[in-house]
């Protein structure tokens, strides 16, 4: 009897562990730094009473938003019936699970009391969007696992579409929920905007697609399989569209703020005087993360596969840069409590706060990337998650 779910392409075990090792190393480094933070408290990080969410949140939110976005590939296959995407749905499901698990690990280990995280489930506050997200995140795991089951088990094939629709709806709500974490913060100039949930959704599309293109090419390269130029072309056009849509929403967000005179000082800070936050916005997000990928994707340069992959990589650089400006820059600017007064205090009133991420935060964040990597590699080793059309073609010709 043949085993249809097994990949016809095998990889030698030594080589497999050779690939796995850097991921495991990152996970260990992340675990070590989480342990240090638990032991000494957050005083060893760069975070303080003004900038309460730092680099770990940048990594965690990147991972969670991308996890949801990666499922776009699955949705276009199973919900909108596009065969090219359908063939890639298993890989997209695996990556979503890996990145969601990684993002949640980072988020959890950055808590002040990670040992008490179970309280988030046992004592539930219904008005908290954080608490809703606890349900949404665990629900996404369940729905994606169910969806993967319908994909990998041929007898479950008829359930693929309903499961795909469930995943589609669920991740839509989940990304909105992530955006709402910030949208509900009425008191802070940087947040409290209804534009944020849709912005996060479109960002998830762009970031997820970039991660997918990079991982797909890595996996195919590893298995000595070709990357179909025609397929890549379709996906890169979509990516360009997403990147432009994100740019549009980011521009609208800043333009509305610029129009409100009470927000003028904040916008001046983010766009002109914010130091690292400003630099990471203009250089990281606008230039490297948006304009460069657009050029690489929408000009004849995109004919070369490596340029498309470069574009994907830079979209991710843009993602991190944007989140850094959004999360850290948004907190560095002081809250406006006394309108019409110049204020000064020992607690940072009226002053720009400062934040420099420490080694521990970098390691925790990179450890998160390691978790995603390890889960992906293990998943790829155990099941057949390769793009099916490529595999079929290779086995026919080989």
């Amino acid at each position: 009897m043949t085993q249809p779910s097994r990949s016809p392409i095998t990889v030698r075990l030594t080589r497999y562990f050779f690939v796995l090792f850097p991921g495991v190393f990152l996970v260990l480094a992340g675990a070590w730094s989480a342990f240090q933070m638990e032991e000494h408290g957050h005083v060893i990080t760069g975070m303080n009473n003004q900038v309460v969410w730092g680099l770990p949140h940048v990594f965690a939110i990147f991972l969670i938003v991308s996890a949801s976005g990666i499922l776009n590939v699955a949705s276009m296959g199973s919900v909108f019936g596009q065969p090219v995407y359908k063939a890639r749905a298993p890989l997209s499901g695996l990556l979503a699970i890996a990145m969601l698990a990684a993002g949640l690990s980072v988020l959890m280990l950055d808590l002040g009391r990670p040992d008490r995280v179970v309280l988030a489930a046992t004592t539930y506050n219904v008005t908290s969007v954080f608490a809703w997200n606890v349900l949404l995140y665990s629900g996404l795991f369940a729905t994606v696992l169910m969806y993967l089951w319908t994909l990998l088990d041929r007898t479950m094939g008829k359930w693929t579409k309903p499961a795909g629709i469930l995943v589609f709806v669920w991740r839509f709500i989940l990304t909105s929920g992530t955006g709402l974490i910030f949208a509900f913060l009425v008191a802070r100039q940087a947040y409290g905007s209804a534009l944020l949930p849709p912005m996060f959704i479109v960002m998830s599309f762009a970031w997820g697609m970039s991660v997918f293109l990079l991982v797909q090419s890595g996996v195919l390269w590893w298995h000595h399989l070709p990357l179909e130029p025609a397929i890549l072309k379709r996906m890169k056009n979509l990516l360009a569209l997403f990147v432009l849509a994100v740019l549009y929403l980011v521009a609208i967000y800043h333009m509305t703020n610029l129009y409100f005179s009470r927000q003028a000082a904040f916008e001046r800070f983010i766009l002109l005087d914010g130091g690292t936050a400003t630099l990471s916005f203009w250089l990281g997000y606008v230039l490297l993360g948006t304009l460069l990928p657009i050029v690489l994707l929408l000009t004849p340069l995109s004919a070369r596969v490596c340029n498309v992959l470069m574009a994907s990589f830079f979209v991710l650089i843009g993602a991190f840069s944007f989140l850094y400006t959004f999360i850290v820059g948004g907190q560095e600017f002081p809250l406006l409590v006394f309108t019409g007064y110049k204020v000064h205090s020992s607690f940072g009133d009226g002053m720009i706060a400062s934040y420099t991420p420490s080694l521990y935060e970098w390691l925790l964040g990179l450890g998160g990337l390691g978790v995603a990597f390890v889960i992906t590699v293990i998943g790829l080793g155990l099941f057949n998650f390769l793009p099916r059309d490529v595999v079929e073609k290779a086995s026919v010709s080989g």
């Binding site: 303080n48 009473n49 908290s128 608490a131 009425v186 008191a187 002081p334 409590v337 204020v343 205090s345």
Partner: protein
């Protein structure tokens, strides 16, 4: 054995009595505008709404007696570094244009609709029946979402292990904390430490009392003046309000 314990109880009692006496010695200051303590065994009542009226014209720039009293009461230390706790702080203001200078103490505003309570995933941030907003540190997982949500930067995160446990409020690493309105004192019928210290220092800048009781001094005073609530645009129903601050 039982003798020993009875003896120790007597010791406690006599020491306690001495302290109670100290409270009674200066009644004019300490028990000003204040009813009796709530009887033992009774929960905080929703008929009471504790609040403060801060008169910025009585508050002296450079004076930080309230801050020191808070730090002493809760064993917070006097460090003002970026990761150090500050439950109450002095803010110096200068009006743009006129250049008018003001000074005022800033702390948790004990909102009627506290954003910190709404966003807290575990319900650790909560509002007691009598309007005091607290952190139940047994439930706090240290996510800091409340600190993001607070419009007044009133909260601190405990960044380091706490070594000094001599304070009135238990506190520990990895949880969020803020002004408790000296709930332990209020429950005993005493004034919050900052209020007492302000009064002792010769200023009468902080008036504490029951906003729900029309006969209380704070309620009577509020009738005759127009206090400013910080971030009134957010409509949070802050329990703390300010005098002498042109509307913000």
């Amino acid at each position: 054995m039982s003798d020993k314990c009875a003896q120790s109880r007597r010791n406690f009692l006599s020491r306690g009595a001495a302290l109670t006496a100290a409270v009674a010695i200066a009644p004019g200051i300490l028990l000003y505008d204040f009813a009796r303590a709530r009887p033992v065994g009774e929960p905080a009542s929703g008929k009471v709404r504790w609040g403060m009226l801060i008169d910025t014209t009585q508050c002296e720039s450079g004076c930080d007696e309230c801050v020191q009293a808070c730090n002493r009461e809760n064993a917070l230390g006097s460090d003002t570094g970026a990761t150090a706790p500050q439950w109450i702080r002095k803010v110096d203001l200068e009006q743009e244009g006129s250049g008018k200078k003001l000074s005022l103490p800033m702390m948790c505003q004990h909102c009627a609709e506290p954003p910190c309570v709404e966003v807290c995933p575990t319900g650790a941030s909560f509002k007691r029946a009598d309007g005091i907003v607290l952190v139940d540190k047994h439930r706090c997982i240290g996510c800091r979402y409340c600190m993001m949500a607070c419009p007044f930067e009133a909260r601190s995160f405990v960044h380091e292990p706490v070594l000094d446990h001599s304070g009135a409020t238990p506190r520990g690493k990895g949880t969020v904390e803020s002004c408790t309105l000296c709930v332990h004192r209020v429950d005993e019928g005493r004034l919050p430490a900052c209020v007492e210290a302000c009064s002792k220092s010769g200023h009468q800048a902080i008036l504490f009392g029951d906003l729900s009781d029309p006969a209380s001094e704070i309620s009577k005073r509020i009738l005759s003046v127009t206090p400013t609530h910080l971030r009134a645009d957010l409509n949070l129903g802050t329990g703390v309000s300010y005098l002498g601050l042109e509307s913000s």
